[in-house]
Amino acid sequence: MTFKLSRSAISASVLLALASGAAFAAKVPAGTALAAKQELIRNNGSETETLDPAVAESVGANNLTRDLFEGLTATDADGKVVPGVAESWKQVNPTTWVFKLRKNAKWSNGEPVVASDFVYGWQRFIDPKTASPYASTYGAFILNGIEASEGKKAPSELGVKAIDKYTLEVKTPYPVAFLPDVVSNLNLGPVNKAAIEKYGKEWTKPGKLVSNGAFVLKDWQVNSKVVIEKNPQYWDKGNVQLTKVTYLPVEDGFADVKLFQSGENDWVYQLPPATYEKYKQELPKDIRNAPMLGLRYYSFNVKDPVMKDKRVRQALSMVIDRDLLAQKITADGQVPAYGVIVRGTAGADVTAYEWAKWPMAKRVEEAKKLLAAAGVKPGSKIKFTYNTSEYHKKMAIFAASEWKSKLGLNTEMENMEFKVLLKKRHDGDFQIARNGWVADYNDATTFLTLVQCGSDQNDNGNCNPKAEELIKQGNQSTDPAKRKAALTQAAKMIMDDYPMLPLLQYTVPRLVKSYVGGYSTKNPMDRYRSKDIYIIKH
């Protein structure tokens, strides 16, 4: 998608969405017999914090806003960008995009969805008064977005404009080839101004929420369920199969699976640790597993007196046997990672350390030399901080055991609540800390924010000015190949400083009933619209 798009987007080339929306919607393969009852129950992992698309932050909240609302574009089950409210778009010059809106898109109250709804939605999203946690993440791709999110410019100065009722112009601060992917996020969705002004804070409640997606809100019982139903006003309703979707807020993975087994749930949020192999054998038809754009890693605090020595960080990273970790400890199909960019990411290539291919004995030997040179003797203590979770605990014990058996280092493990870990990480009050990142959009920059100078998401405290310059140059480039080369090189340069210890690329092992159709294991962002899902006769 982004890749295909950027290749043709050389300078001010024109890119039109090739087909009308109908061809992209819930493709039920010919010959599939559909069940009479098109209802789905899926677990959403936790109670959603909001149904307001502008401030939605968690995966669960975004799953819901993705069904209730529709942005300019959307992503289908394979993660490809498809038209949403916009039926076509073009990059009229390196930093200007024009989106043509379809005329039959309607709000659930029957009013048409127009360009000004997007302008209102985007300005509301970026307004510091709304305080959306994503304001600076997506604001970075819209002209004046960062300044507006910090209150230095008025939201009205944001680079988005309604040319006419059905034409929207978006300006970017530098050439952003993957903008169509970015605007599929519902934080940048349209919202209904009249409804918000009428109901105020209450506007997301059942009976009040006006939305433009394939589904409308029917019922919302906190900590019990959110029920959505097919939207009769939706422009593409002919291609929506499901009539009702129930989202459950079950946090406990084992409870989740039990609901699945007793038939109370069709779609497990995520399998609990160490159960993947078991269910693969027991329920081979229901098990689904796919890598996604996410990285499990450990942050080194480069300002710590021990960790400030690159040789120590390198030694610690070298001796972790990622293959063993993936195969035996997590045992859920995750892929070993040796760089900050994971497989399937657009905009940069995966980089890996040279020693990744060495035999372990050689790696250990080299690591011991590095430690000795840095003056860290066997028997020394290092401190590892992680948050309460069975999964993180197992990985931590594994890492500690590797460090002890191969380098003779004693790891003091400190387990704390998630909020406390976040605080310590943000404050730089740690030595080595568990960390993880799931891409916000499919481009290398989402991962580079983890290691860039002064980035909000950089917990390591590292900074490589040369790499920073490369990233900046790459972003200014309108040639995707050049940009990719620059970002890849920057990623490699930064990783050679060892600011973090990459471990594994995320996968999403889960159980989905075999009769749930339209689920794809090729979705790199794990973002599904219920629009694409259907129930097969069973």
Partner: protein, 306 residues
């Protein structure tokens, strides 16, 4: 007398306090009580079992070939086997479950013992003081006890553990804070009854100081009721520790406790049932024993004249 016992108990096995008290007292009511206690077969069997469990936890790990934190990637989630002496099997990281269960038992029993001693001590001091002084002080002190009952303890426990960290002694402290009130109430009631006895008035008359009266004359006479409530407190405290573990607030890895082990085992009870079975059985056996001993003590030492 009780204070002395407490120190013995610290180094000693669980519940030694209650038992030692009997011969030390050496009065005929105590002998009666002992006879009544030994008539309760369930209580006697429980006492023996509990001693055995305690001994196993204290000395077992020293006799076994594995260390509680040794991982073995070739022996992960192994079912119980004679091979390599993994008699209870191994956990998902290849750590020997027998050693971990015994080490976990040490922690759980220590938490039970220390938190009980601490809450009993606080309860006695608080209750005896309130009951003896009476009046405003009594009202105020008991109002605080009522308040403690009203506090949603699990919430405060979560906050305390988060705030203070999860060192072993902090877990003990957290549990203690919410376990002393029963004792305080009971002791206060008993103190009020004893206060009106002639020998206390006599002590007053010859000018013995108030603290001296409380600790030398009132506290020893509370012994019966204190022993009963102590045995009732122990299982409650151990169970609380397990609930904290369930909420992810237990002791730090690689250290473990029965609560932590059971919490880990519950999730995988269908695939690797031994991870739940062994620690669960030991915890339940301990709690059953403690409960039966408590009932036995209660029947035996009931302060009411029979």
């Amino acid at each position: 007398m009780l204070l002395k016992n407490k120190q013995n108990a610290l180094g000693d096995a669980l519940l030694a306090a209650g038992l030692d008290a009997l011969p030390v007292a050496g009065r005929s009511p105590w002998r009666d009580a002992r006879e009544r206690f030994f008539r309760n077969k369930a209580a006697v069997v429980s006492l023996v079992l509990l001693l055995l469990i305690t001994l196993a936890c204290v000395f077992g790990p020293m006799l076994l070939p594995h260390s509680f934190d040794d991982t073995d990637w070739d022996a992960m989630a192994l079912a119980p086997t004679w091979q390599n002496m993994h008699l209870f099997g191994t956990d998902e990281l290849g750590r020997d479950l027998l050693v971990r269960t015994l080490i976990g038992g040490r922690i759980s029993l220590m938490v039970g013992l220390l938190a009980t001693i601490a809450s009993v001590a606080i309860g006695i001091a608080w209750g005896a003081t309130a009951g003896f002084i009476g009046g405003r002080v009594d009202t105020l002190m008991m109002r605080l006890v009522d308040m403690m009952y009203a506090v949603p303890y699990l919430l405060i426990a979560i906050l305390m553990v988060t705030l203070l960290g999860r060192e072993f002694y902090l877990v003990v402290l957290t549990i203690t804070v919410f376990s002393w009130m029963d004792m305080a109430r009971v002791v206060r009631g008993q103190t009020l009854a004893i206060k009106s006895k002639e020998y206390i008035e006599a002590a007053h008359a010859i000018g013995v100081s108030t603290p001296a009266i409380i600790f030398r004359h009132i506290v020893p006479n509370l012994l019966g009721i204190v022993v009963i409530y102590t045995t009732v407190t122990v299982p409650g405290v151990i169970l609380t520790e397990s609930v904290l573990s369930f909420l992810g607030l237990g002791v730090q890895e690689p250290m473990t406790s029965w609560g932590v082990l059971i919490e880990e085992g519950t999730g995988v009870m269908e695939t690797t049932p031994w991870m739940l079975l062994f620690p669960g059985a030991l915890l339940s056996l301990t709690l059953y024993c403690a409960n039966y001993i408590g009932d036995g003590m209660r029947d035996a030492l009931d302060p009411k004249d029979r």
